[in-house]
Subunit: 110 residues, 2 copies
Amino acid sequence: MGLAKTEIFTDEQNQISVFAKAFGHPARVAILQHLFKIDTCFCGDLVKEIGLAQPTISQHLKELKYLGLIKGTVEGTSVCYCIDMDNWKEMKDIMTVFLGQDLLPKNECC
Amino acid sequence: MGLAKTEIFTDEQNQISVFAKAFGHPARVAILQHLFKIDTCFCGDLVKEIGLAQPTISQHLKELKYLGLIKGTVEGTSVCYCIDMDNWKEMKDIMTVFLGQDLLPKNECC
DNA sequence: CCATTTAATCGTTTTATTGCGATAAAATTA
DNA sequence: TAATTTTATCGCAATAAAACGATTAAATGG
């Protein structure tokens, strides 16, 4: 159906999957990496940096903004995007716990 | 188009997005969490644990196996699944670098 | 060999995602 | 005000993903 049955999963599981989905496209990974590297960035810069059309970049930015990972402030005719550090750290904490499950003691099986 | 233009991105960006996509569904998050908790697990156990049909679980297991995050060994009529620790750590290293970008010194902008 | 158990695969339906051309909106500049 | 710049939105086409019923495959037990 293309529709995940979110209601049968825990909030934590859904939250992890939502953040992971944001990183599930190389364009969004590239956008975030660029924002970290550059500190601040206009949408037009990203269009040049990444080789996708302007509406496509705008759409990816919208998704990242919806999740709170980035924020954009209008400056004249352009919009300045940057990482939302507080929300990034919150996301990172959640993902780090998930990724760090291998640190709990256990015996490998098969 | 529903088709990511992977060729315009770096190998690292594509790799991050591929792993992230694996965690982009709560069922796969739940499967991995359960495998970590239980050590070893049969497909049928996951069908009971998570509330999805057997073909659906089987499909999710196939994706996780394809990425190398889990491995399955046949035991009689059933298949025993568990985390592939080596590959998990490798994936974790890649994701940790990506998530840890906020640790590099920088000045917040907008 | 036949029934049973367990998991994988096939085929289909439904919804989501990607990408972009065309257009609109908003601010700036001439 | 008109032209320009920059970004957002709309609408569409193409592909991917999710879910599952039906079926197949593989091993075991009687």
